[in-house]
C-alpha cells in the first residue's frame, strides 16, 4: 500500500488554461501531472497511489463524462472534478450521478477549486482504505479450496451443517471439517463475520 504524496491529474485541451491551473495548484502546494487530451491521460494510467482528476467537460477527442466512465472501470477509481466553460444542468446532473466529486464552471475561484480538491483527496483516501481492506480479505479468500468456497457460500445463506451436507451430498462430519478449516484460514469465528466478508467481496451465494 502506497500512501505517499497524492498526485493531481489535470486534463484540459486548452493549453493556456491548463498552464494557469497548473501554476495555481502548484502554488497551493500540490503535486500534479497534466495532459492535454483524455487519451493522453488514459494511455499513461496513474500508478496505484492517492490522487484525484480535474477534467474539462468539453474536449475534442473524448469528453469528460466518457473519461469518467473509463476511469470507473478500473479497480480503484480516482475521484473526478469537472470543469466547464458553460455548464448545463442535465450534464452536471449526469456527472454527479456517476459519482463526480464536483462540477465547477470556469472561471472558478481559488477557494472553490482547492475546496473541491481537498474533498476529492479525502474521499480518495477513504476509498483506498476500504479497497486495501478488501484486498486483504480477498487474499485470504483466495487460499480456500473450491470445496471450502462452496461450503462458505452455503453457510452465509444461514444453513445448518446438516442441510449443507444434504445439499452437497456428503456427511455432516465432512462439512464440520471444512467449516473448521475455512474459519481458520479466514481468521473469522462468527457467521456474521463471514456474511460481511461475502458482501464485501460480492461473493456468489447459493
Amino acid at each position: 500500500m502506497n500512501s505517499g504524496q497524492p498526485t493531481i491529474y489535470v486534463v484540459d485541451d486548452d493549453a493556456s488554461f491548463l498552464q494557469a491551473v497548473t501554476r495555481l495548484l502548484r502554488a497551493g502546494g500540490y503535486a500534479l501531472r497534466t495532459f492535454t487530451s483524455a487519451h493522453g491521460f488514459l494511455n499513461n494510467p496513474p500508478p496505484d497511489s492517492p490522487g484525484c482528476v480535474i477534467v474539462d467537460l468539453h474536449m475534442p477527442d473524448m469528453n469528460g463524462l466518457e473519461l469518467q466512465d473509463a476511469l470507473a472501470r478500473t479497480g480503484a477509481p480516482l475521484p473526478v472534478i469537472f470543469l466547464t466553460g458553460h455548464g448545463d444542468i442535465p450534464t452536471s446532473v449526469d456527472a454527479m450521478r456517476k459519482g463526480a466529486e464536483d462540477f465547477l464552471t470556469k472561471p472558478m475561484k481559488r477557494e472553490k477549486l482547492f475546496d473541491a480538491v481537498q474533498r476529492a483527496l479525502a474521499r480518495n483516501a477513504r476509498e483506498r482504505q476500504a479497497y486495501e481492506k478488501n484486498r486483504a480479505l480477498r487474499a485470504r479468500y483466495e487460499t480456500l479450496t473450491p470445496r471450502e468456497r462452496e461450503v462458505l457460500a452455503q453457510i452465509v445463506t444461514g444453513k445448518l451443517n446438516k442441510q449443507i451436507a444434504a445439499d452437497l451430498d456428503t456427511t455432516e462430519r465432512t462439512i464440520k471439517a471444512h467449516r473448521a478449516n475455512l474459519t481458520a484460514k479466514l481468521q473469522m469465528q462468527s457467521v456474521a463475520e463471514l456474511v460481511r466478508l461475502a458482501q464485501a467481496l460480492k461473493l456468489p451465494t447459493s
Binding site: 486548452d14 488554461f17 498552464q19 494557469a20 502554488a27 472561471p107 472558478m108 481559488r110
Partner: protein, 609 residues
C-alpha cells in the same frame, strides 16, 4: 265442347291479358302511344278470334254473311293500330305510305259494311268439313267483290310502310328491333292474307287462322315492347343503386345537399345537411332562416358570397360558422352553383355543405404552433448565441482568474517568485487578447446575417406576419386591424429581418394587452408612404401604454419590464431597422395605448456601412 272452342277463346284471352298489361304500362310510362296502339291491336285480335270462331261454327248462310261483313271491323282496327304502333314505336318510315294504306283500308271496310251487298268479299255457299279430332267446321265459298283488289292494295301499302320503317330503323343500327318487329309483322300479314286466300279459293280446307297469324304479329310487337319495359326497369334499378351510392358517398364524406328555390324562397336540404346545421327534418327553411343559423360575424361574408355568385358565373363557395342549438360552434364549407333563367335572373341554387370543424381546429392549432415556434425561435437563437459566447469567453476568463490567483500566492512567498509572476502577466495579456478576439468574431458573425438585400413590398410582408399571428390573436381575443395604404414604394431589405421586426412589435403589443378587458384588445397595423423616400409601418395597441419614465430606455439591450423577458426584442428591432438605414420610435397615443413606428427608406437603400 271441342278443341276449337277451347283454343280460340284461349287466344282471345291471351290477347286481352296482354292488352290489359300494356294499357296499365301506357298510363305509367313516358312513351304512352306505342303501348296504347299495341293494346288496341291486341283487343282487335281478341275480337277477330271471336268472329273467327263464330264463322267456323255457323252453318246458316245469311248469318254467316252478316258475321263476315262485321268481321272486317276489328281487322281494320287491327291494321290501323299495327300501323300506328310502327309509326310511334319506330319513329321511321314514310308517313304518307302509312296514312294512305290505313285510310284506304278503313275506306274498304266501311264500304263493305254499308253497301247493300258486300263489296270486298261475299260468301255464297257453305259446306262442312271434318278436321282432326273429328271436329266439324264450316268452310265458305267466297266471291271477291269489286273492292277486293283495293283492300289488297291497301294492305300492301301498309306492309310497304312497315318494310320501309324497318329498313330505316335497321340502317339506324337498331337491327334486332327492325328484324323482329318489322319482319314479324310483314311475315304474319302475308301469312294470314295468303292463308285466307287459299281457304277462300278452296285450295286448302282448314279453318280460318287469321287470328293466329295476328297473334304472331302481337307477339313480335310485344316482345320488343316488353324489352323496352325491361330496360326501363333495369335503368330504374340502376338509378336507385346509384342514388344509394351517392347517398353512401355523401354520408361517408359527411356531405349535405341542398337546393334553394329562389322564386318561392324554399330551401330543400338533405337529412345530412339538416344534421350539419342542427335543423330538424320537418322544419321549413328559407333564406332568412338560413342566415339566422349562420354565426352573426360570418353573415356578411355569406351574403357577399351569394351576391357575387348571382352577379358572376353563379359559382358559390364560402366557409362560415354555425351556432348549433347546443351552443357548439361548427365550421361549414359550402359550394354551390346557380341556375339562371333566360334573363340571367337566378332561379335555383344548389350545392353541398360539409362539416370542416375538425379541419379548422387543426389548422388553428397548426397556426398557433407556428407562432409559438416563431416565439421560441427568437428565444433559442439568442440562447444559442449566449451559450456559445459564454463557452468561448469563459475559457480565457478562467485562465486569467487562475493565473491572477496563482500570482497572489507567488507574491506571498518569500522571496516572491518574480520569474513566475512575469510569465503569469504575459499569459494574462495573451488570454485577454483571446477574449477580445472571441467578441470580435461573434460580432462579425452577427453582421454577416444582415447582408441579404432585395426589393420588398411592405404590404404583403405585413400580411404574412398577420397570418402568422392571427390564430394566436384570436385565441387571446385580440382583434388585429390592417390599414394598408395602396401604392407603397418597395423598400430594400431582408424579408426575414423586417418581418421579425413587425412580428416582435405585434407580439409585444399582444403581451401589453394581456390585462386589458376582453372587449378592448385591439391592434392596428398601418402602412403609409410618409414621404417620397420613406415607408412607415406602425403598430398601435389599446393597452396601458408605456410609462413616460422608461420611454428613453426602451431600446436598450437587456432592458425589460416583463418578468421573464430577456430585454432583447426591441434592441434587436432597433438593430435591424438601423441596418436597413431606417428609424424606429415609440410613443403613447393621445387616445391611450402605445404605438411603434418603423420608418424605412424606399427604393435603393444606401449601402450599409
Amino acid at each position: 265442347m271441342n278443341w276449337m272452342t277451347i283454343v280460340w277463346p284461349m287466344l282471345a284471352a291471351a290477347c286481352l291479358t296482354l292488352a290489359l298489361i300494356h294499357v296499365r304500362i301506357a298510363f305509367g310510362d313516358g312513351r304512352r302511344l306505342p303501348h296504347l296502339f299495341f293494346s288496341l291491336a291486341a283487343v282487335a285480335v281478341a275480337v277477330v278470334s271471336g268472329f273467327e270462331l263464330t264463322l267456323l261454327r255457323t252453318d246458316e248462310l245469311v248469318r254467316y254473311q252478316t258475321v263476315l261483313r262485321w268481321a272486317v271491323v276489328p281487322i281494320g282496327i287491327m291494321v290501323a293500330s299495327v300501323t300506328g304502333f310502327v309509326w310511334t314505336f319506330f319513329g321511321t318510315g314514310r308517313k304518307w305510305l302509312a296514312m294512305a294504306g290505313v285510310g284506304l283500308n278503313l275506306l274498304c271496310q266501311f264500304a263493305n259494311l254499308v253497301a247493300p251487298v258486300p263489296v270486298v268479299r261475299q260468301a255464297i255457299a257453305l259446306h262442312q268439313v271434318q278436321t282432326c279430332g273429328g271436329v266439324w267446321f264450316t268452310v265458305p265459298t267466297i266471291v271477291n267483290g269489286p273492292w277486293n283488289i283495293v283492300e289488297l292494295f291497301s294492305v300492301i301499302l301498309v306492309a310497304a310502310f312497315v318494310l320501309d320503317a324497318s329498313v330505316q330503323l335497321w340502317k339506324k343500327g337498331e337491327r334486332r328491333r327492325a328484324a323482329i318487329v318489322g319482319g314479324g309483322i310483314i311475315f304474319f300479314f302475308c301469312a294470314s292474307r295468303g292463308h285466307a286466300i287459299l281457304v277462300e279459293q278452296g285450295i286448302v280446307q282448314t279453318p280460318y287462322l287469321v287470328s293466329f297469324a295476328f297473334l304472331g304479329v302481337i307477339i313480335a310487337m310485344g316482345y320488343e315492347l316488353s324489352a323496352d319495359v325491361l330496360r326501363a326497369a333495369t335503368l330504374a334499378r340502376r338509378l336507385r343503386e346509384s342514388e344509394r351510392h351517392s347517398d353512401l358517398a355523401a354520408h361517408a364524406a359527411a356531405l349535405g345537399f341542398w337546393t334553394w328555390n329562389l322564386s318561392r324562397d324554399e330551401i330543400w336540404a338533405s337529412a345530412n345537411a339538416r344534421a350539419i346545421f342542427g335543423v330538424s327534418e320537418d322544419e321549413p327553411l328559407g333564406y332568412p332562416g338560413f342566415l339566422n343559423l349562420v354565426h352573426p360575424e360570418d353573415r356578411d361574408a355569406v351574403r357577399n358570397a351569394i351576391e357575387q355568385a348571382f352577379a358572376g358565373s353563379g359559382d358559390y363557395q364560402t366557409a362560415y360558422r354555425v351556432q348549433l342549438p347546443t351552443g357548439q360552434l361548427r365550421w361549414i364549407a359550402a359550394h354551390g352553383r346557380t341556375e339562371f333563367d333566360a334573363n340571367h335572373n337566378p332561379e335555383f341554387m344548389s350545392g353541398a355543405v360539409m362539416d370542416i370543424t375538425d379541419r379548422r381546429q387543426s389548422e388553428l392549432e397548426l397556426q398557433q404552433l407556428r407562432s409559438q415556434l416563431a416565439h421560441a425561435g427568437r428565444v433559442s437563437v439568442m440562447g444559442q448565441l449566449a451559450a456559445a459566447l459564454a463557452h468561448e469567453l469563459n475559457q480565457p476568463l478562467g485562465a486569467i482568474l487562475s493565473n491572477a490567483e496563482a500570482a497572489e500566492l507567488f507574491l506571498e512567498q518569500n522571496p516572491p517568485a518574480l520569474g513566475e509572476l512575469r510569465d503569469i502577466l504575459a499569459d494574462i495579456r495573451k488570454d485577454d487578447e483571446r477574449a477580445s478576439e472571441v467578441i470580435r468574431r461573434m460580432r462579425s458573425l452577427l453582421r454577416r446575417q444582415e447582408m441579404e438585400r432585395q426589393p420588398l413590398a411592405v404590404n404583403p410582408l405585413v400580411e404574412d406576419v398577420f397570418r402568422l399571428v392571427s390564430a394566436d390573436a384570436a385565441l387571446r381575443r385580440i382583434t388585429i386591424a390592417l390599414e394598408l395604404s395602396a401604392n407603397l414604394r418597395t423598400i430594400q431589405g431582408d424579408r426575414i429581418h423586417v418581418q421579425q421586426v413587425v412580428l416582435n412589435l405585434i407580439l409585444n403589443a399582444m403581451e401589453a394587452m394581456a390585462k386589458s378587458s376582453v372587449g378592448d384588445r385591439r391592434i392596428t397595423v398601418q402602412t403609409h408612404q410618409t414621404s417620397d423616400d420613406d415607408v412607415e409601418i406602425s403598430v398601435a395597441d389599446s393597452g396601458p401604454g408605456i410609462e413616460p419614465a422608461i420611454l428613453p430606455r426602451l431600446f436598450e439591450p437587456f432592458f425589460t419590464t416583463k418578468p421573464n423577458g430577456m430585454g432583447m426584442g426591441l434592441a434587436i428591432c432597433q438593430r435591424i431597422v438601423e441596418a436597413h438605414a431606417g428609424r424606429i420610435r415609440a410613443e403613447n397615443q393621445p387616445a391611450g395605448g402605445a404605438a411603434f413606428h418603423v420608418t424605412l427608406p424606399a427604393g435603393t437603400a444606401r449601402k450599409q456601412t
